[in-house]
Symmetry: C2
Subunit: 549 residues, 2 copies
């Protein structure tokens, strides 16, 4: 029994493209003498299809795709993820299914039992959980236990579900476990995934084949890293991270012998490198899938736009990125110098456009109404918004897409200007706290200085009034980020934080800032997600709430 | 048995405020000799609390609130909605519950079985469905069947759920049905609600008391309209629409006699009037709950900003609204005249700020880069963005909150400028198609001309280039809105639409515009929801998708 794992970058709703990739993989599987090729969860339509699942036309196209793929399955079988229609009178109209295809047709459909509905997941919105008795698929004398992603995620003290599909499936004496997945990356996901899958294989004493998506769907970054686990719970093989892959395994040759020496025990990459690679893929796929040719961003001389520019240049190529310096009278000379130096280091072309004249004109225009009121936050925001107007004009005129350069710390506390520096098509470092942005800069500079040293060491400043520093308005980032992490990622309350030793006034101020700035975050771009709790679809908060505020 | 229904405007997370309103209602109930006061679903924390439910601190505050309310229940009982902790080892950590309070303590907890997880609802994200056997509450010799909102929504051929809680509860011989709800308004909801509730009461032959939320929580508008249904399925009474209310009913005196003559058979208001009232409440509550003192908007002389201004003046009072005219060289004279006339009709103060000078300066600033490229969409967007910069500067300086004036048709097809006219804290008419905006204008003008006739009859135009009309870029709104309604509200596909007789090229163009403008909608303000399918939390679409695009 030769099993091929096809780890593919799908595009949501692009049935033609997805089917053509799937068929090519089946042909490649044939060439490599595979008996069956395994594809990911909801492969035909891409993941997550979201409310497109409510359109009959969309579901019809899923079925047409499956039928067309089945045609390709002659002398080879395929396991392909797709929605399927629930034939029962009651319950939601769809299942999240794995289709077993061979001899030119659909042989069997297995439905997902455990539907994740937390964080970024909404599967219970669309799908009925499987309530039928489980079945194994018999193919060429092997018995396949087919599971879909979350179905295996309940095995170990996980309190979320009351059922455990593998417990039932194991009673049917399967020879191997298949798990087709759509499991997005975050920096702790690799550890969790390997723990769950290796323990599962070991408990049931049979090999496990896990196929994940790879590629980005807007904010969700799929790392791939599909796995083959031996019956003894050791990792037999791991597919590419952040790239497509197809590999074929012979059950008899390898897995039952438990040849330890065959196990390629890979050393995991450092977390910051995984995040780096994830973000580069995220930018690249966003532009590719949206059909956008090139990026633009405002380069301030600060650390956030510096890191964003490096990642964008790596994702799109220097020639497809434009940096714009937009100095005002409050911009320090070194900021302009640092920005130019970085652009030159990266071979990225830059323009310098002063916002001074526009700022003066707005001041004139508004002076009859503002009469004699003093410079305050209004004028600071005005500068940020003039920059956005210029960047968006360049975007409109030349087809650049604006990259947002806000970091997670400032997004959290609302330290940014709506319709100003909070603009952009996609936020690149919006899931990195400020201290993580510095860590990324150090990682980027680990071999040679790409980001100027001065950008790394100067105190963070928005440079919107004379001598301004972030620390005038906010706690030091070292403290701020610790509080934010405990509140956002760990969902700790004010009392927990105070007990841990954080200053009470600071805690209350920070939590209030986070909660009262929900209205700003509502209108910001999608954020490439690298943490277990990113702003966006995975964190849903009411705007008018009055809680810790 | 005297039952009080307390229809209250809660504020999410404002435990102190909510508890104080609940206690006041219990005292009022006592005064009116009620035996039990019934409050809405998740009353203590407000609805929807969203991811605050993931914070232990938030749940602790719910319990503290319930205990404090229980203290108030001496010689009177209360039924109050609150999350409760699931004591089981497996399953999600919370239930959505009704607490029965009397004699100073919690007597019983009933858990919700059917958890809506469609459209704007995410309840399965947080709550475990009840899987325990049902129980009735005995109080003063009456047997209460307590249900929570959706629990009753499965009775009639509703294919979403496989269980029917009332079917089981009815076997326990209850004397009456209580339903505590959080059922937001849309223009078809009243009909559905009355149908479900009257049929339920009739089937089981016992009275039904239904208590809903009232008031707005950002985009969700709760109309109240709590109901008392007689055992014969007729409507015995209906509480206020769009306002708080408390009424007391005596089971013996009224309900069992089925005195038809007692039934106040109310004529429903016309749909457009309900929408009008819902939007006025939506604006008012947004400002009240956010603590914002006053509103500002750009008044163009067109229909969208005209209707928005009228609704805002009604919600907040003319003296709390500021209109700003921002003419350019492309603004027609009549537009300025119409705008001033409307402001004067409403007694709303206005400023006129020309954007011409700022526009020229940006043209100068950009001219070295744009060198000789001709006027196009870039310059159109530039004007819209300059307007936003000025409006936001006034907002920042004086504490006005900007009202967004986009309508559903233009939001659907992306006919608007991101960071320009798509700005604002809240979108007022964003769930009204352009043709519905006209209908609203006619309703506003039904007694006397408030919106100038010229605003109503002139062809819609963005006035961003000479002689521009919306119909240069888009199908006539009469056609466009019909296509949009079928695609957005009815989820019909292109083939369905073409079969219905719409022009194929138009259909494909419109659907493509809707799908490819998801990225713009992602960054727009929350939209007051009045339809069964509004843009926002109830319609979740992938951004990078390639479907019908």
């Amino acid at each position: 029994m030769r099993i091929a794992l096809a780890q593919i970058n799908y595009h949501i709703g692009d049935f033609e493209g997805n089917v053509s990739k799937i068929k090519a993989a089946i042909q490649e599987g044939k060439k490599q003498l595979a008996d069956v090729v395994v594809f990911a969860e909801l492969a035909v339509c891409g993941y997550p299809p979201r409310d497109f699942l409510e359109f009959d036309d969309f579901i019809r196209k899923c079925y047409t795709s499956i039928e067309s793929i089945a045609e390709e399955c002659r002398d080879i079988a395929a396991i392909v993820g797709s929605p399927s229609i629930n034939p029962a009178e009651k319950g939601k109209p769809l299942y999240n299914s794995a289709f077993f295809l061979s001899e030119g047709k659909i042989q069997s459909i297995s439905n997902k039992t455990l539907l994740p509905n937390y964080d970024v997941f909404d599967e219970y919105r669309y799908f009925e959980p499987n309530r039928q008795p489980y079945h194994v698929i018999e193919y060429k004398k092997y018995r396949f236990a087919i599971t879909i992603c979350e179905d295996l995620w309940t095995t170990f003290d996980n309190p979320l579900y009351i059922r455990n599909p593998m417990e039932d499936l194991s009673k049917l004496n399967p020879d191997l476990i298949i798990n087709i997945s759509a499991s997005p990356f975050h920096y702790e996901q690799e550890t969790v995934r390997k723990d769950v899958l290796t323990r599962t294989a070991k408990i049931y004493g049979i090999p496990l084949f896990y196929v994940n998506h790879v590629g980005a769907q807007t904010e969700l970054l799929f790392d791939g890293a599909s796995l083959v686990i031996s019956p003894d719970g050791s990792i037999f093989d791991e597919l590419n991270y952040f790239g497509e892959d197809l590999r074929v395994y012979n059950l008899n040759d390898f897995l039952y012998k438990q040849q330890k020496e065959e196990i390629r025990d890979k050393t995991s990459k450092p977390r910051i490198e995984l995040i780096h690679d994830a973000l580069v893929m995220g930018i690249r796929d966003y532009f590719l899938k949206m059909g956008f040719p090139k990026a633009i961003l405002g380069l301030s001389g600060g650390i956030d736009s510096a890191v964003t520019l490096v990642l964008a240049a790596r994702a799109l190529g220097s020639e497809h990125v434009k940096a714009v310096l937009l100095p005002s009278k409050f911009s320090s000379e070194h900021s302009v110098r640092d920005a130019i130096e970085l652009a030159d280091n990266l071979n990225v072309s830059h323009d310098i456009i002063s916002i001074e004249e526009a700022f003066q004109i707005f001041e004139n225009t508004l002076s009859p109404i503002f009469k004699g009121l003093s410079f305050n936050l209004t004028e600071e925001n005005l500068q940020a918004r003039i920059r956005a107007v210029i960047l968006m004009a360049l975007s409109n005129k030349f087809g650049y897409i604006l990259l947002n350069t806000s970091n997670k710390s400032e997004i959290a506390v609302g330290y940014g200007t709506l319709y100003g520096d909070m603009c952009g098509g996609i936020s690149v470092v919006g899931d990195l706290y400020k201290t993580q942005v510095y860590e990324m800069a150090q990682f980027i500079n680990r071999k040679k200085e790409i980001i100027p040293a001065n950008t790394m060491i100067k105190p963070p400043s928005a440079e919107l009034r004379p001598g301004q520093k972030d620390s005038d308005s906010l706690p030091e980032y070292k403290i701020l980020d610790q509080i934010l992490y405990r509140y956002i990622e760990q969902r700790k309350g004010p009392n927990d934080l105070i007990k841990e030793g954080f200053d009470e006034a600071t805690v209350r101020k920070v939590l209030k800032l986070v909660n009262t700035n929900e209205y700003k975050r509502f209108q910001t771009p999608p954020i490439l997600r690298i943490s277990p709790k990113a702003f966006g679809m995975g964190r849903r908060m009411p705007i008018v709430a009055r809680y810790l505020s």
